[in-house]
Each structure stands twice: as structure tokens, then as C-alpha cells.
């Protein structure tokens, strides 16, 4: 395939969903079936092109890297030009397929899930724009271009979480998501400014080269790395910015699958994966630590949630933690591979939960479910595959390969982080089994929900089957082929050497693998025992653990903490400023105002008394004088004549005398 063809394919990948959005947004309501076929066609075209690109990347092997552009975007000054451009390498190719494939399946799924919604067409429009934004982000070859996609993703997520804007909860969740990720974006801006200033270019290659040469001063490089991670932590819901993701479950379930499991949260991981060559060892340590902590904390919280989507949300947070752990310890391949596999099985489980919610007439509380396997077998079996994958059941599921890779990476670098990760793996298996059992196995707990439950239509089950198949095959198939070269040919600044030696000796053997398998299977069995076979002892088991469960159920009081530490002080500050405003600022303004009024009064009095008085006096004088002369003007002709004659006589007399 020639470069020109590849470039055209990239353009099609980008243009199809953008065009789809434009048409759907403007004409969607008038199209047949709300325009869903149009949008599915658009994302389908994008998917086909992505697959072609990925095939080409596979042919190219580890060295496959292509750059198109740069094209001038803005000429900001004589010397500085902002460009946009496209980079194609293994990582991009994988991300393209993940994004378009999951997006395509979600589109199909939504035709059934959103049926009858008054804003049916609009939903697809936003899905299109979201896919476009994510593709922009993935294809970017410089930070500024990437940031454009990054912000568009944030916008679309805001619109889609708050899609049911007539209800207050989705609106609040949307705002929370937007604001929380904005906090992270601050770090992104910082990093862009630092790198742009130090390197003079936003292009990845230039930044990596400068970092490798040591052109960027150490503190600045550290700060830029931390800024990038801050952005990634916001987008990918890492501690302490994870609070928005569970709330984002207020959005429609296909959105949860697309944005909050498979792709948008992947943006943060992708960013760190993409920028890995410039991250310093200190930043890597921070990333790994935060990732491990997130994996553990989110896992603990997930154990005590009862809303089916919230369990999945916390499991997403936890799995994202794993990805960052992997990236942080230098297990670059494993971290990004986990991103890929997780995208498929988490999309599978979210769509599965959507199918359950749809089948149970929008009931999301797992305590009212149970025994649904007989009612909705396809959903149950595909969901089980997802559960097995996330638990990391060996050899047949993809989750095993990626999680194992991360854990062995951590084992070689930092044993403490490894044990935290392993603990998280046990938790993951445990709460996912709890979720599965509570939903699909055992006796129905709410007769009404159970009686009305039904299997979902084909448009929903077929995507589930496709995703389940991918979940099974992608691991064994892709581990050796898809896992691609480091992001660039430039030597990375960080732990790369360690990583490569690790990767070399890592062949899914040894103690780490067995520990990972034991953790996964053990967690699953424990979950099965506690929630299924030995249910009657559950209450007795729970009693001593009540305080712990309370802490988990309340999500470690993160929201309350933020409320007390950030939101209430912010409101208090606001109130203080309000008082200041009312008393001091308004007081000053009022004082000035009153001064003006007083001056005006004085001036008015002066005007009325003195100026008007003078004018009136003159007027009166004129009037009086006029009165005198008016009296002379008697209208009596004889008098006039007498006066004239008298005056003449007087004049003559005077002349005579003088």
C-alpha cells in the first residue's frame, strides 16, 4: 500500500464520522429511522479503513511509522507556526481499530437501546462527534493537535453524560465530569506550554529528541511529565480525580460502554503511552504508585456497590489503575495491551449491563435481580466471558495476558506495587463474580422484575456476541503480533532498558504467572462461594466486617471529603466575597453615588436661586420698563402730537437759550 493510499485512508477515517455528525445533527430528524443507518454507515466506513491501516501496520512490523503533514494550522508569528499532522504507527493502528470497532458496535446496540427516545437522532450525532474526536486525538502527531481532540472528547462526554438533560442527576454528573477533567487539563496546558517553550515545536518526535539530547532542563521536564500525568489522571479517572466516572453512569448505558469503559478513559492511558519516551523516572514512579493505589481503592469500593453500572464503573477505574501501573513500571506493552483487551471486555460488560437494564425495564439495582440467566441466556453467557476475562482466567481470555504482563512488569521493578496489584486482582475477580451471581444466578429476589424480564433484541445481542468472541481470541492472537514497537525509534528517557530486559525474559512462565492465576481463580471461587453456594452464611460473615463495608459503600467518603475541603470552602469564599461585594464595593459605589446626588442638589439649588434669580430679575426689569413705555403708548393720537410738539418746542427753546 502506498503512502498516498494510507493518507487517504486516514482522511476517510476522520472525515466519515465528522460528516456523519454534521448530517445527523442538521438533518437527522428528517432521515428515515432517525438517521441511525447513516451514522452506522459512517462509523462502518471508518472501521473498514482502520482495519486496512491496521493490516498495513501489521505487515510493516515493529518499525512501521508513517508521518503525514505537517500542514500549517495557524501562523502565530513570523517564526512560529502551529501545525497539524498525522502519525501512524503500531499504537495508533491499534487505537484506531479499538475506537472504531467499539464505537460501531455501540452504534448498533443503541438502535435497540435508545428506541423510542425523543432525542434518538441527536444521540447518534453526538456518538459520531465523539468517535471523530477520539480519532483526532489518536492520529495527532503533535501535542496541540492532540489537545484539540482531547478537549472535543471532553465536550462530547459532557453532552452524552447529560444526554437526558431533563433530569437533574445527569446534568450534575455531566458538570462534575467536565469540571473534574478540566482540573487535569490544566496540567496538560502547563505541559504544552513548557514543552512548546523549551523545544520550539509541539511535535512528538521533536520533543522526544530534545528530551533524549537533554535539551530540556530537568525540573521543567519533570514538571511537564507531571502535568501530562495530571491530565491523564483527570481523563482516565485516577486517584484523586476519579470521582466523576461513577457519577457519569447517569448517562445512557451505550455511552457508558463507549466513553467510560472503552475509549474516552483510554485517552489518558494513550497520552501517557504516547509520551512515554519523555517521562522521567520520577514521573514514572508517581504514575505507577497512583495507578496501583487506584487499582486497589477502586476495587475495594466496587465490592460494596449495589448498582450494576456503578460496580462496572469502579471496576473501570480499577483497571485503568492497572494500565497506569503497567506504564509506570515500564511495562509499556502490557499496559497498552491491557487498554486494548479491557476496551473489548469492558464494552462487552457495559453493553451486557445495558441489555440487563433494558430487559428489566430500567432497573439497575442488583438486589432486585437474580436468576436472570434463564430469562436472558445470551446476555448471561457473554457477560460471564467478560467476567472471566477481567478476572484473568488463564490462556483462554485476553485479560489474562495483559494483566499478567503488568504484574510481572511490576514484580521486577517494585515488589510493593506488585503485591498491591495482586491484591487488586483478587478483589477484581471477587466483586465481578459477586456482580455476576447477584444478577444472573440464584433465586430471583424481586418477583416483579424477574417476571417481566426478557432477552434483548438482536441489535443488542449480536454486538455482545461479537465482543465476547473478540475478548476470547484477541489475547492469544494478539500478544505476539499486535504488541508493537516502542512509540518511536528515539531512545526513551526513562526505564526503557529495564523494560526490555524484562520483556525478554517474560514468557508467561514463572512464579508471577502462577500467582496471577491463583489470584484470579481464587477471587472467582471465593465470590462464587460467598454469594452463591454459601449464601446463608453471608449475613454471619458480614457482621464483623460492617464498618469496612460501610467505608466501601460510601466510596471512602471521597465525595464528602471534596465537599468539605473544596466545595464548601469555595462556597464559603463565594459568600465572603458576596459580603465584601455588598458591603465594601457596593458601599463605595453607593458613597460615590450619594456624593453625586448631593453635588447635584447643591448645584440645583445654586441654579434655581442664583442663576435663575438673575435671569428672572433681568426679565422683571425689562417687564417693568416695558410697562412704563407701554403706558406712554396710550393710543390717543392727540396726546402723541402734544408730546411731539412739546418736545419740539423744548428743543427749540433749549437751542435758543444755549
Amino acid at each position: 500500500m502506498s503512502d498516498a493510499t494510507l493518507q487517504t485512508l486516514c482522511f476517510v477515517v476522520l472525515a466519515a464520522p465528522l460528516l456523519g455528525f454534521a448530517l445527523q445533527y442538521t438533518l437527522g430528524r428528517r432521515l428515515a429511522k432517525g438517521g441511525d443507518l447513516l451514522t452506522i454507515g459512517a462509523i462502518g466506513a471508518s472501521l473498514v479503513c482502520s482495519l486496512l491501516i491496521a493490516y498495513e501496520a501489521l505487515q510493516g512490523g515493529a518499525e512501521f511509522t508513517k508521518t503525514f503533514g505537517p500542514w500549517t494550522w495557524l501562523q502565530v508569528s513570523e517564526t512560529s507556526t502551529w501545525t497539524i499532522g498525522i502519525t501512524l504507527d503500531g499504537l495508533t493502528a491499534v487505537m484506531l481499530v479499538v475506537v472504531t470497532l467499539v464505537s460501531f458496535l455501540v452504534h448498533v446496540f443503541s438502535t435497540a437501546y435508545m428506541k423510542g427516545d425523543p432525542k434518538y437522532g441527536l444521540f447518534f450525532a453526538w456518538l459520531q462527534l465523539f468517535s471523530f474526536s477520539m480519532l483526532v486525538l489518536v492520529l495527532a502527531n503533535n501535542l496541540l493537535h492532540l489537545f484539540m481532540g482531547w478537549e472535543l472528547v471532553g465536550l462530547c462526554s459532557y453532552k452524552l453524560i447529560g444526554f437526558w438533560s431533563e433530569k437533574p442527576a445527569p446534568c450534575n454528573a455531566a458538570r462534575k465530569a467536565f469540571i473534574t477533567t478540566r482540573i487535569g487539563d490544566l496540567g496538560m496546558m502547563l505541559a504544552i506550554c513548557i514543552l512548546g517553550g523549551a523545544v520550539g515545536s509541539f511535535e512528538f518526535e521533536a520533543i522526544f529528541a530534545a528530551a533524549a539530547r537533554g535539551d530540556i532542563a530537568e525540573p521543567w521536564l519533570l514538571l511537564a511529565g507531571l502535568g501530562l500525568f495530571m491530565a491523564a489522571a483527570g481523563k482516565s479517572a485516577q486517584l484523586p480525580l476519579h470521582v466523576w466516572l461513577p457519577d457519569a453512569m447517569e448517562g445512557p448505558t451505550p455511552v457508558s460502554a463507549l466513553i467510560h469503559a472503552a475509549t474516552m478513559v483510554a485517552a489518558g492511558v494513550y497520552l501517557i503511552g504516547r509520551m512515554a519516551p519523555m517521562l522521567t523516572p520520577d514521573v514514572m514512579v508517581v504514575i505507577a504508585t497512583v495507578g496501583a493505589m487506584t487499582a486497589l481503592v477502586a476495587g475495594l469500593i466496587a465490592m460494596a456497590q449495589n448498582d450494576i453500572k456503578r460496580v462496572l464503573a469502579y471496576s473501570t477505574v480499577s483497571q485503568l489503575g492497572y494500565m497506569f501501573l503497567g506504564l509506570g513500571v515500564g511495562a509499556w506493552h502490557a499496559g497498552l495491551f491491557h487498554l486494548t483487551t479491557h476496551a473489548f471486555f469492558k464494552a462487552l460488560m457495559f453493553l451486557g449491563s445495558g441489555s440487563v437494564i433494558h430487559g428489566c425495564h430500567h432497573e439497575q439495582d442488583m438486589r432486585k435481580m437474580g436468576g436472570l440467566r434463564k430469562k436472558m441466556p445470551i446476555t448471561a453467557w457473554t457477560f460471564l466471558i467478560g467476567v472471566l476475562a477481567i478476572a484473568g482466567v488463564p490462556w483462554i481470555t485476553s485479560g489474562f495476558y495483559s494483566k499478567d504482563g503488568i504484574l510481572s512488569g511490576a514484580y521486577g521493578v517494585n515488589p510493593l506495587l506488585f503485591w498491591i496489584g495482586l491484591g487488586g486482582a483478587v478483589l477484581t475477580a471477587f466483586y465481578m463474580m459477586r456482580l455476576y451471581v447477584m444478577t444472573f444466578e440464584g433465586e430471583p429476589r424481586d418477583a416483579q422484575v424477574h417476571d417481566h424480564a426478557h432477552e434483548s433484541p438482536k441489535a443488542m445481542t449480536v454486538p455482545l456476541i461479537v465482543l465476547a468472541a473478540l475478548t476470547l481470541i484477541i489475547g492469544p492472537l494478539a500478544w505476539h503480533t499486535l504488541m508493537l514497537a516502542p512509540p518511536t525509534g528515539v531512545e526513551p528517557a526513562a526505564l526503557w532498558a529495564t523494560l526490555q530486559s524484562l520483556e525478554a525474559e517474560h514468557h508467561h512462565a514463572g512464579t508471577v504467572m502462577w500467582m496471577a492465576i491463583a489470584a484470579g481463580i481464587g477471587g472467582l471461587l471465593l465470590g462464587w462461594l460467598v454469594f452463591h453456594t454459601r449464601r446463608e452464611k453471608l449475613a454471619a460473615l458480614k457482621a464483623p466486617l460492617a464498618p469496612l463495608e460501610n467505608a466501601f459503600a460510601n466510596k471512602f467518603w471521597f465525595d464528602e471529603l471534596y465537599d468539605a475541603v473544596l466545595i464548601r470552602p469555595a462556597y464559603a469564599l463565594g459568600r465572603a466575597f458576596k459580603v465584601l461585594d455588598e458591603r465594601v464595593v457596593d458601599g463605595l459605589v453607593n458613597l460615590v453615588g450619594r456624593g453625586g446626588v448631593t453635588t447635584g442638589d447643591v448645584s440645583g439649588a445654586h441654579d434655581r436661586g442664583v442663576v435663575d434669580g438673575l435671569v428672572r430679575a433681568i426679565g422683571h426689569a425689562c417687564q417693568r420698563l416695558g410697562g412704563v413705555f407701554s403706558a406712554l403708548q396710550s393710543g390717543r393720537v392727540r396726546l402723541y402730537l402734544s408730546i411731539s410738539v412739546g418736545a419740539l418746542a423744548l428743543a427749540l427753546l433749549l437751542e435758543h437759550l444755549l
Binding site: Q633, G635, R636, V637, R638, V645
Partner: protein
């Protein structure tokens, strides 16, 4: 001889007397017609003066002079016109008020 004794001053005195009589009539009478008569008297006093000056100037120059006499003719014509206008006014006043007392015609006072 007697005629020769009559000089310019005699004429002028007659003119002055006539003028004063006219002036007194205008100033003292309220009847509009009487005032008109007074005005005629004053005009004719002036005419006497003009004729007298014309005559004596011709004597000094030793040749006939007609300037003064011509002037008098103009005055007579003007006086006739003026009398016509005045009488028309008076008739109108009389029509509206049944009297021709000028002291009552003071509607133009200030």
C-alpha cells in the same frame, strides 16, 4: 406803496398764525373732521410760505422762478388725496361706532 410795504415777514407771520391755528385745532379737537380741517390749515400755511419764498426769490434773481409754485401744486394734490383717504376712514369709523371721537380710538395702546 402800500403793497410795497408788505414784505416777506408779513407773509411768514400769516403762515405761522395759520399753522398755529391748525396745530391748536388738531391738538384740541376730538372730532375727526375738525382735526382734518386743522391739518388742511397747516398744509396751507406751508403753502403760503412756499409761495412767498418763490415770489421774493424771483425779485432777487430778476427773473421768473416757479419752483415754489410747483411745489405748492404737489402739496395741493397730496392734500386732496389725503382728504379722500381720511374721509373714507372717518366714514368707516362712524359706521362702526356712530361717533367720530378720536379719543375713543385707542385700541392700539400698549
Amino acid at each position: 406803496m402800500l403793497l410795497a410795504a408788505v414784505g416777506l415777514n408779513h407773509y411768514l407771520l400769516v403762515g405761522a398764525a395759520l399753522f398755529c391755528a391748525g396745530l391748536v385745532a388738531v391738538m384740541s379737537r376730538r372730532n375727526a373732521v375738525a382735526i382734518l380741517i386743522g391739518i388742511e390749515l397747516m398744509l396751507n400755511a406751508a403753502n403760503i410760505n412756499l409761495v412767498a419764498f418763490d415770489h421774493f426769490r424771483a425779485q432777487i434773481d430778476g427773473q421768473p422762478v416757479i419752483d415754489g409754485q410747483l411745489f405748492v401744486l404737489f402739496v395741493l394734490v397730496i392734500a386732496a388725496a389725503e382728504a379722500a383717504v381720511a374721509l373714507a376712514l372717518i366714514l368707516n369709523v362712524f359706521d362702526t361706532r356712530d361717533r367720530i371721537d378720536v379719543d375713543e380710538l385707542d385700541t392700539l395702546k400698549g
